[in-house]
């Protein structure tokens, strides 16, 4: 498929020329590598009590120890896995639902469309953090509950965006032509509509991942995170509970996890912005 290839090449050129994209993708590659190698390079098992509690940074414990004597630096490295994994999986749920709803609503139109869009409007109005807190409190904190709760409450915005893209693709000649000669709906959707939606869905996915990581951090900070696997938000929960920000410990116990969250979220957000620009030529500056 030479046409497809040239399109990919064009996207790639646009991405490379875009400084925001370079920064964003650079950050993402860095964190992905970190998450992969983390278990092999941690100096200590982050769950083991390896020293006296509340130690200052030293050559042994680069970022000191926490309130029970676990190595904070090791906690941070392994935490990258948890935060990234929850963010990506929740974004998959969110975009998966968003894509299906957007495609169905946009392609079939009519009653199905207006019913689905009503639903989208309703989900958009609900303040999601309080609802997530309510659900997390009832369902109990666990890895999969977090992912489902985040994913199932953030699909509405992507659904709306993908629907409008489908609507614009539908009016183009080849879809109409396909329908006129009786091509099956599944084939039209797969061959003509989906390729036009994928770049947009990808940018929405990246944006959803950045939001999911932030939401996971907030929920974990409120004590509603997965108690078994420690994410960056969980580390900050303990730092807050033990009053670390009232002592010097804020420098090595509070600053690093928050900085990592910010960088990862910004990495996703920058990449998303850049991809959005690639997917939607109207946004291109030149």
């Amino acid at each position: 498929m030479p046409k497809e290839n040239s399109r990919v090449a064009e996207y790639w050129e646009l991405l490379r020329a875009n400084r925001i994209a370079v920064v964003g993708l650079g950050l993402l590659v860095f964190f992905a590598l970190l998450a992969i190698v983390a278990p092999f390079i941690v100096p200590f098992d982050p769950d083991e009590l390896v020293g006296a509690p509340f130690q200052r940074p030293s050559s042994v414990h680069l970022l000191g120890t926490n309130d029970v004597g676990q190595d904070i630096f090791s906690e941070l490295l392994v935490g990258a896995r948890v935060s990234l994994l929850i963010g990506l999986l929740a974004a998959m749920v969110s975009i998966g639902v968003g894509c299906v709803v957007g495609l169905v609503a946009g392609y079939f139109g009519g009653r199905i469309d207006s019913a689905l869009m009503r639903l989208v409007d309703m989900v958009l109005v609900i303040p999601f953090l309080p609802l997530m807190i309510l659900l997390a409190a009832y369902l109990g904190p666990s890895f999969w509950n977090l992912i489902l709760v985040i994913g199932l409450l953030t699909w509405a915005q992507p659904a709306r965006i993908i629907r409008s893209q489908v609507l614009s693709i539908k009016t183009r000649g080849f879809v109409e032509a396909g329908r006129a000669i009786g091509t099956p709906v599944a084939v039209i959707l797969r061959q003509h509509v989906l390729p036009g939606v994928i770049p947009l869905a990808l940018s929405q996915f990246v944006i959803a991942a950045s939001q999911s990581i932030l939401i996971e951090a907030s929920l974990s900070f409120l004590g509603l995170g997965d108690p078994v696997t420690k994410s960056w938000g969980t580390i900050l929960f303990y730092a807050q509970a033990r009053g670390a920000f009232l002592t010097d410990a804020w420098l090595w116990w509070v600053v690093p996890p928050g900085l990592l969250i910010t960088l990862v979220v910004a990495g996703f957000a920058f990449s998303g912005l850049a991809l959005e620009e690639v997917a939607d030529p109207k946004l291109r500056s030149r």
């Binding site: 303040p127 309080p130 409120l222 600053v255």
Partner: protein, 324 residues
């Protein structure tokens, strides 16, 4: 036409309210085990079967679900949100105590966020593609990427714990017995850090909306027309472009009411600020389910009302909607 349009929207809000109410009603009852632990805070494990049934009857939990729902709705309509078994007093009293503080914090934030976001967003749009625009864009993406509670913790560490400029937590000095002007200053000093963190995290949504809306307005024909007519650039910016670009900001302003309440949950927790958000957090910690539900209901209803008001106001500001 407008009537029908609004009618459809209103129906949607009514449906949403029903969904929220049913969700609130069903959650404790759909959980495994008896709903007693969720609704009455009773230690079910220590009770005999007869005791359990007696308490169930007391709370009307032995009746069929429709009866229970009618009772639940009846209570709500009378402004009775139930009873907190942790604090041992009516939830309505607790909410009334907390509401002013959240309104102060969220209200001040809403005003500041809108002013800052609109002005900076407009500036960025005028300089589209330039250095200033790129710099502002990157800055605001980073600001939006920061966890709100983390900003709060850093501000406390630097400005309260290290420098001692502001109090560490709370909304006022509890035992100082301050009155009049001194009390206002005291409350203001307590407000600075939580408000700063809240503005920090919520200003970017206004900025992005304003920038985007300004960009699309600047591309409109009437802007080129005004320029061609020789209208001074300042006037084009302020009278022609900015006024029209403000419309989406109004929508985001109303929507922000909801996100600000939820943003305030985390911020109020960091600063132990005695508002609705911290109440929600405390209810989670102590598993005080009736309070959890009431707080959620209050926050959601506020958001829905904000949306309804936005829909009603919209035609007043945008004549195009009115004509249609």
């Amino acid at each position: 036409m407008l009537g029908r349009l609004l009618g459809g929207r209103m129906l949607q809000y009514v449906m949403l309210i029903v969904v929220i109410l049913v969700l609130n009603f069903m959650l404790p009852r759909a959980m495994p085990g008896t709903p007693l632990a969720f609704l009455a805070g009773e230690d079910v494990g220590l009770m005999t079967t007869e005791q359990r049934e007696e308490v169930m009857a007391q709370h009307g939990l032995d009746r069929p679900l429709p009866h229970q729902f009618a009772r639940y709705m009846g209570n709500l309509l009378q402004g009775d949100f139930g009873y907190s078994f942790q604090q041992r007093r009516p939830i309505t009293d607790i909410l009334m105590e907390r509401l002013p503080w959240t309104l102060l914090l969220a209200g001040a934030n809403l005003v500041l966020t809108t002013i800052i976001g609109v002005l900076v967003g407009a500036v960025a749009a005028w300089r589209r593609g330039g250095r200033a625009d790129a710099g502002l864009l990157a800055t605001f993406v980073f600001m939006a990427a920061m966890p709100s509670f983390w900003i709060g913790m850093i501000l406390v560490a630097v400005f309260a714990a290290q420098l001692g400029w502001f109090p560490v937590y709370g909304a006022y000095s509890t035992y100082a017995g301050l009155t009049g002007w001194e009390r206002i200053v005291d409350i203001g000093r307590h407000l600075v850090l939580p408000l700063t963190s809240l503005v920090f995290i919520s200003v970017s949504s206004v900025f992005f909306t304003m920038r985007y809306s300004m960009l699309s307005v600047l591309r409109e024909d009437y802007i080129s027309m005004a320029r061609a007519k020789g209208v001074p650039e300042r006037l084009v910016k302020y009278r022609h472009a900015m006024r029209n670009a403000l419309l989406p900001v109004l929508t985001i302003f109303m929507l922000n009411l909801g996100f600000i309440f939820s943003g305030a949950v985390v911020i109020e927790t960091v600063f132990a600020y005695p508002g609705i958000g911290r109440l929600l957090f405390q209810a989670v910690l102590t598993r005080d389910y009736p309070v959890l539900q009431a707080t959620f209901l209050l926050i959601t209803m506020t958001v829905i009302i904000a949306n309804i008001v936005a829909d009603l106001l919209y035609p007043l500001f945008d004549p195009r909607v009115r004509v249609r």
